[in-house]
Symmetry: C2
Subunit: 479 residues, 2 copies
């Protein structure tokens, strides 16, 4: 029993210290390990398998919309990074610089890509000559580097994995449509696959991406009431095209600049999965993304017939789900705790009596609900339960999210909510950056987005300055 | 006609200039583009789709042997790289150094990984405590950087994509078995999927990997008679474990060092596909790896019924193969040339008469063989032809390879073959590095490997010094 206790004791309770709970979960669920390289982590098999599933599912959705994958260099010459003014200002302070190749100093230093707009522009400049070459709808899966001071696994690390899509279009309209389309791909993916409800909206001028005309975002609410920006899609208009000279000869024989977009989603989303669904026993994985969906735990596995029955059960269930058996010599209690920490959606327990009576016990990770199931029915029951669990996890997260959206009509209300009611705060805004800055400075609350849906006028005046409001904003503390 | 001619004219003939032919093919088949970053390339959609297929197939084969994927940082602190003496000597002269993070100089400079043995050792040092933690059979898909002076697309570039597997085992025997097992995974993959016959063998002391006890390799013969090392698998014994202090408590309660292996295959293999199968019209892709296996080209596509028939054909064939239609407004001749340059295995031509008579023309990329096929039979015929083509491409490559293996019994013969008969040279070797060095210096020929199979004594004395020979070596000029 000492061992079982130890596993669970390693996780601080959420109530006690949410940040510590998070760190305990990523470590004890076997998702990551720390390294000798400050701010960089090892993504271990359990973590990487999650990312592989995310990649597979997103990549399929991308390709359905006509995306093609490519790979561009990880290095950007300093002169190239500097071509678009806003962009370089946004990124230069946080890039890593390569100054030596082999034993020689470089003539021009190279930064390790923090994002690849400049490289794609340099590439498109040659690739795009005629309207026939458009659109370009390219994406790459890679790692990027941003020299952050404070780092946390998945949420903010100096190197992280992501995909970055970069497109070029003949018209502004087409670029805008692609920007929205990809945001919706992200949002649908989060809701359908990760069971994470998101707010879709637009970033303010202050919060938009360096060099973008407009930035769209999906914002999710974590269990502690803080927001996590979970994916972004940017419309660059023809700003980059003008800086890089990306022109094409259109059907009307006119030379025109292309219109561009970019959109990215990173391993940060694994942080969202943890903080939306996890509990005090560890990770809880939505069935659709779980690398292992069912863990079979034999009880008294040395007793005659138990392991055989467990293996037969695995074979039958494998038709419907990703299933494994824990055959190790650990105690059942230890195995239960381990499967729980790792967030495996369902557990099937089978002991000597069960095997004899042709049944097993089905346990759900999220609700702990336990019920007996006939072995013959197990595959169908597992399939049904996984579907049900996926739906219920989304509904539960949505309920939690919706219960943590509060309306503020003035600075006093905003302060009260920010201090006492963790969650999203809906508040009207006049459109001035100074109000955003004041709110951020005084309350550590930032504008998350102006929502696409549910734009309504909850009051006439700006929550900060009291002047005439222009739009509804979701505000919040954020990761 | 001008356009068709232009496409083909862009490719220099192999006979005339093989190196230029290669460059023309990679560029005109749309595999890569050059960039502003010297020695780094863009892998374009046609090139990246090849890599995705290689990844999917290899990854599946890895996982069948128990491999789990992980991701480690791209940076290695200088002190970590220096822990294993031979290893740092091998790599330090060709790494890129990061010296600044953001606006600050780093306390310790970091190299961009040229390979990740040192990082995996640092990781395993914490992960492995007991025999229960073994084996670790991890792999990562990533890019690595080596600051080469001369670069060529796919064959030698400053950044390239690869996978690197790193394992830790309780015994020397298990490590040796894993080293051989992974070499065989590579060899089988090359032969079965890429239709590239390979020689499996062991590298000499001089040619082995920096820090390895033994290095195994697969060597393929390119169309110009030069060898290409296509995948390697290393057994480190406990050398790295001792340097890094990776110890575990064994079942017998003794503290022991682990035994390690690593193995890698890179985008270099795309160079092999090009140089083994390509011809003067461009790329020729083995069906199993071709992103598009069949291109349907409608002839007179504006004529009534043609496009409809082509689309119906596509739908039917898509059950059996990866198929596309070229619906662009280019001429049929241009479309043929383009599909040929890109190496698409089969072409289906369908014109107004064909549509009327319920048939189409099937053309094979490698042999140019043309035959009429009833539309109703097309899916089955395509399936059969793809299988046949895959087999015949392997047989043709094997025949070419076997016809270019020559035996040399002394230095004179070796020189004659090296100068006049491009290919592998079989020659006995005494085991002394000085002989290898002499051969390399005088003839630009290196020892490729001591073959695992077909080890026979073709003469008693070393091909170089005439002293007693120890083993048969495959020698050759190499990329």
């Amino acid at each position: 029993m000492a061992k079982e206790k130890k596993l669970v004791e390693q996780i601080t309770s959420m109530q006690e210290d949410f940040a510590q709970w998070y760190t305990d979960v990523v470590k004890n669920a076997g998702l990551i390990d720390y390294t000798s390289v400050k701010g960089c982590m090892v993504i271990k098999p359990a973590g990487y398998a999650l990312w592989e599933n995310i990649q597979r599912e997103l990549d399929r959705r991308f390709k359905e919309t006509g995306v093609e994958n490519v790979y561009l260099p990880m290095f950007i010459p300093e002169s190239l990074l500097q071509k678009e003014k806003d962009h370089v200002e946004g990124f230069a302070p946080e890039v890593a610089w390569v100054t030596h190749g082999g034993l020689q100093p470089l003539q021009e230093r190279l930064c390790v890509r923090p994002t690849s707009e400049t490289l794609f522009c340099d590439f498109y400049k040659n690739e795009v000559q005629s309207y026939r070459d458009l659109p370009k709808v390219y994406n790459q899966w890679c790692s990027v580097v941003r020299w952050e001071k404070e780092t946390r696994p998945f949420l903010r690390s100096r190197e992280f994995l992501w995909q970055e899509g970069h497109t070029a279009h003949a018209t502004a309209k087409e670029a805008e449509e692609r920007t929205v389309q990809m945001l919706n791909v992200y949002a649908d993916f989060c809701e359908e696959v990760l069971a994470i409800p998101v707010i879709r909206g637009q970033k303010t001028e202050k919060e938009k991406f360096a060099g973008a005309e407009s930035t769209y975002t999906i914002e999710a609410l974590m269990h502690d009431g803080k927001a996590l920006q979970s994916g972004t899609s940017h419309n660059f208009g023809d700003g980059f095209a003008r800086a890089f000279g990306i022109q094409f000869l259109d059907k009307d024989n006119q030379l025109k600049y292309v219109h561009q977009t970019s959109w990215g989603l990173s391993t940060r989303i694994i942080g969202a999965i943890i903080m939306v669904h996890g509990d005090d026993s560890g990770l809880v994985l939505p069935p659709r993304i779980a690398p292992t969906q069912v863990m079979i735990v034999p009880i008294r596995q040395d007793a005659p017939g138990v392991l055989e029955a467990a293996e037969k059960l695995m074979e039958a269930v494998s038709e419907k789900a990703r299933v494994k058996i824990d055959r190790t010599d650990k105690s059942p209690g230890f195995k239960f705790a381990e499967a729980e920490i790792r967030g495996i959606p369902l557990r099937l327990e089978i002991g000597p009596k069960d095997a004899e009576q042709g049944k097993c016990v089905l346990v759900r990770r999220d609700t702990r609900e336990k019920r007996e199931v006939a072995l013959a029915d197990a595959p169908a029951e597992v399939e049904k339960e996984l579907l049900r669990m996926q739906e219920e996890m989304f509904e539960r997260a949505k309920k939690h999210r919706d219960e943590h959206i509060f309306d503020a009509h003035n600075m006093e209300e905003l302060r009260d909510i920010a201090e006492n009611h963790p969650g999203f705060i809906r508040g009207m805004w006049c459109g001035k950056t100074s109000c955003e800055e004041k709110i951020k400075e005084e309350l550590s609350v930032t504008s998350r987005c102006a929502p696409f849906h549910d734009q309504e006028e909850i009051s006439e005046s700006c929550v900060c300055c009291g002047e005439k409001a222009k739009k509804l904003i979701y505000w919040g503390k954020a990761y």
